[in-house]
């Protein structure tokens, strides 16, 4: 498998990350596993005692679990759309982040649906979704769409890795035998022959073309779980595009934070350079403006119409005695701060953009909470003689423990993937100043370093 000098340099630079498994890596993984164990105990309590250990009751039947589900699935859709667009439009500066986007896609599409399973009261009836599907139900659409999407995103990540697997296979690395065998089998015998290249390009292009509309469709279907009901705050035609945009926006934020973390941990500033941060910052700013417009439109329409139930939800969202501070936080850090930080040249710096992204991701998580809980706390049927915990949702510690366990699982998967493959793709990489038509001389892996597999 041939690499040009720039690609070879990038590979050599990242090799230690997949060769070595340091004590700090182990400590990192143990830390995540600890969180997952705490989550496991919370899950045990939930299974043993039922959903009574959560804050969910008759009226508020969805809580943190669904918030996390929407959040993670949103990240996944964003990763797929960003990587698909970067691949299709062959954006030169975007090549280093394609892998990171795809990693975000696959990890969050694994973690997200787990939260749905946590929300299901009757595990023994889970298979009924497939045995007795009801095609008219948005729930059925969502289950089938997520399964289809999972297969697509896993294929997309794998296909873009085949060339790199061939590079790992053909390089004599200080790695265990099982890892060598794994690389060899995953490389599918790719040697860079013209016909093989053609098959790979066709596959990549087809998937990039299909994954973008698929992500938009699946994201819209997720929004329709809410939008198709007649509940105040949910029943809105804007919900489909609003969810797509929100997903893309939060995904962009997580991508920037992930870039910053890997840039620091693996010293990848040559690849995740300042220009990349600024470009993604601009992208984030545009998304923030569009997202702000959608948010304003959603609130303004409901407030102006003042239909009874809509007005109740709006009042809850803006009342400082109820969700007012959260609404302020979600809109300040979710819309205004990211725009201001990227717009002002003095703050248009890596650390500032990352900080704004992190705050924005938090704000968008809160926004998902504000979409779900206040609406469920405003049922159309009046509640009389009801206990307070049935009216007002408060998340219990098992829900928080499982939430943190989910975040830990997401980060753990990210860590494990980055120990298996290079975070910056090697074989697809282009030198930043490639505008001149200078072609790097291909170099071949030294015969001595080739190992038989």
């Amino acid at each position: 498998m041939e690499l040009n000098s720039y690609q070879q340099e990038a590979f050599n630079y990242q090799r230690p990350n997949i060769e070595k498994f340091s004590k700090s890596n182990l400590l990192w993984i143990v830390f995540f596993l600890l969180w997952i164990v705490v989550g496991g105990y919370a899950l045990y309590l939930q299974i043993a005692h039922g959903h009574v250990v959560t804050g969910m009751r008759d009226n508020v039947v969805w809580g943190l679990f669904i918030v996390n589900f929407i959040f993670f699935i949103g990240l996944s859709y964003a990763g797929a759309i960003i990587s698909g667009l970067l691949h299709l439009f062959k954006v030169p500066w975007g090549k280093p982040i394609i892998r990171l986007s795809q990693m975000m896609t696959i990890t969050s599409v694994i973690v997200g649906p787990i939260f749905i399973l946590l929300c299901v009261g009757r595990f023994d009836r889970l298979h009924h979704l497939f045995i007795y599907p009801r095609l008219q139900s948005p729930m059925t659409w969502d289950v089938l769409a997520i399964l289809t999407y999972f297969v697509g995103s896993a294929l997309f990540l794998y296909i873009s890795l085949i060339k790199d697997f061939a590079v790992y296979r053909d390089t004599k690395m200080d790695i265990p035998k099982w890892k060598q065998k794994l690389y060899a089998s995953l490389a599918l015998g790719y040697r860079g022959a013209a016909s093989q290249k053609r098959h790979l390009i066709i596959s990549q292009n087809l998937l990039a073309i299909i994954i973008i509309p698929l992500s938009i469709m699946v994201s819209s279907i997720l929004s329709w779980i809410f939008g198709m009901t007649l509940r105040p705050g949910w029943h809105s035609t804007i919900f489909g595009p609003y969810f797509v945009l929100g997903a893309l926006y939060s995904g962009c934020g997580v991508l920037i934070v992930a870039m910053w973390a890997y840039r620091k941990m693996y010293k990848l500033q040559d690849y995740f350079n300042d220009k990349l941060f600024v470009n993604l910052g601009y992208f984030m700013m545009v998304l923030a403006a569009a997202y702000g417009y959608f948010t304003f439109s959603e609130y303004f329409t409901s407030w102006f119409g003042s239909a009874k139930w809509d007005a109740d939800v709006i009042n809850k969202l803006f009342s400082l005695q109820e969700y007012g501070w959260w609404t302020l936080f979600a809109n300040l850090f979710g819309i205004l701060v990211p725009i201001a930080i990227v717009a002002i040249p003095a703050t248009r710096k890596v650390n500032w953009i990352t900080l704004a992204s992190f705050a924005m991701v938090m704000a968008l998580w809160v926004k998902r909470y504000l979409i779900i809980v206040p609406t469920l706390e405003t049922p159309a049927l009046p509640m009389q003689d009801t206990r307070m915990e049935y009216v007002k949702y408060t998340a219990s510690w098992p829900e928080w423990a499982l939430t943190f366990a989910g975040i830990a699982s997401f980060l753990l998967l990210f860590t494990l993937i980055s120990k298996l493959v290079t975070v910056v793709p090697v074989s697809e990489l282009e030198e930043p100043l490639h505008q001149h038509n200078h072609q790097h001389e291909p170099i071949f892996v030294n015969q001595d370093t080739i190992q038989t597999v």
């Binding site: 008219q136 294929l155 206990r387 892996v445």
Partner: protein, 322 residues
């Protein structure tokens, strides 16, 4: 090599800082900070709890006993067994309930029934053969003898024999049901005045009440029946006259079938394709199928491409030379 070392050191530093921050967060978050309080939960006094633990007692079942006099000159003896365990009511099935006729000379066993899954036992006896007491009452007793886990239970009910007649009357378009309530305990049959009697129509699960009337001095009452009640395929409806939980006579019922209802076909009609029916709209099936076929079709093409890629692996040595 130096670069790698520097990088490792930086990585370790960053990761250690994050782990330390996480652990500190754990320390400062009280475990129950997010827990939700149950406003109805009350702490049981420690002494009571201790007593409850020390003395495992038998379950004390309750036996509800009622009697229904029927128009075919028989009586249904109905018993229902249930028990409250840890605040929840359970219907007790597979228990033997014996029915006894209580007379001045002693108890006469009538028979027994095993309770069904709803905890119910129904025993039917012919009314003519039953002995009455001096006051003209018939006394029944339902007995559960108890078992290893449950205390015994029994219940007694006394009734006077009575008959409820139901007579359908159709005048022009007016549908009426006339009822007559007669006391049979005197032997001659005397009318029962000033007693409320209800008229019901049999429906799928429970009877539907359509009216109520109080008997006059002759023991007669009448109720008008609506003309638009859905019936069966022939328009038949079952009208039930019922005296409920009367202190003297218990429950009495009589029924009659009349073609006074609207004809409703008993054949299942094919439901249209709609959001609410079991059949989704056709456009939805077509759209869904096309979307899934397009996406999965792409996946199949891609997987075929990958198989071809694997098949076309060139010789390693040649590939390396080239």
């Amino acid at each position: 090599m130096k670069a790698i070392k520097t990088r490792d050191a930086a990585t370790l530093k960053l990761q250690s800082a994050i782990i330390y921050a996480g652990l500190m967060m754990l320390l400062f978050i009280p475990v129950n900070i997010f827990a939700q309080a149950d406003s109805t939960k009350k702490e049981a006094p420690a002494a009571e709890a201790a007593v409850a633990e020390e003395e495992p007692s038998l379950i004390g079942p309750s036996l509800n006993f009622m009697i229904v006099q029927k128009a075919n000159n028989t009586i249904d003896l109905k018993a229902a067994m249930q028990a409250k365990v840890k605040g929840t009511f359970y219907k007790l099935s597979l228990l033997k309930v014996s029915f006894v006729l209580v007379t001045e000379t002693g108890d006469i066993p009538l028979g027994f029934v095993i309770t069904d899954k709803y905890g119910k036992a129904v025993f039917n006896v012919k009314a003519d053969s039953l002995k009455t007491d001096a006051a003209g009452k018939i006394n029944f007793k339902a007995i559960f003898a108890g078992n290893k886990g449950m205390d015994p239970a029994e219940s007694e009910v006394s009734i006077k024999r009575a008959r409820l007649e139901i007579i359908p009357v159709k005048e022009d378009s007016l549908l009426t049901v006339q009822m007559k309530l007669t006391d049979l305990s005197t032997g001659t049959g005397s009318p029962v005045p000033e007693t409320a009697v209800g008229i019901f129509v049999a429906r799928l699960i429970n009877p539907l009440k359509v009216g109520e009337s109080t008997t006059d001095a002759d023991g007669a009452a009448s109720v008008e029946i609506p003309y638009n009640l859905p019936g069966d395929a022939k328009g038949n409806i079952t009208l039930i006259a019922r005296l409920d939980e009367n202190e003297t006579y218990g429950n009495i019922e009589a029924s009659i079938v009349q073609p006074w209802g609207l004809k409703v076909s008993d054949k299942l009609t094919e439901l249209p394709r709609a959001l609410w029916s079991p059949h989704p709209p056709l456009w939805m099936v077509i759209t869904f199928s096309i979307l899934m076929a397009v996406v999965w079709g792409h996946y199949i093409v891609i997987i075929v491409q990958l198989f071809r890629l694997r098949k076309e692996e060139p010789d390693t040595a040649i590939a390396t030379k080239n």
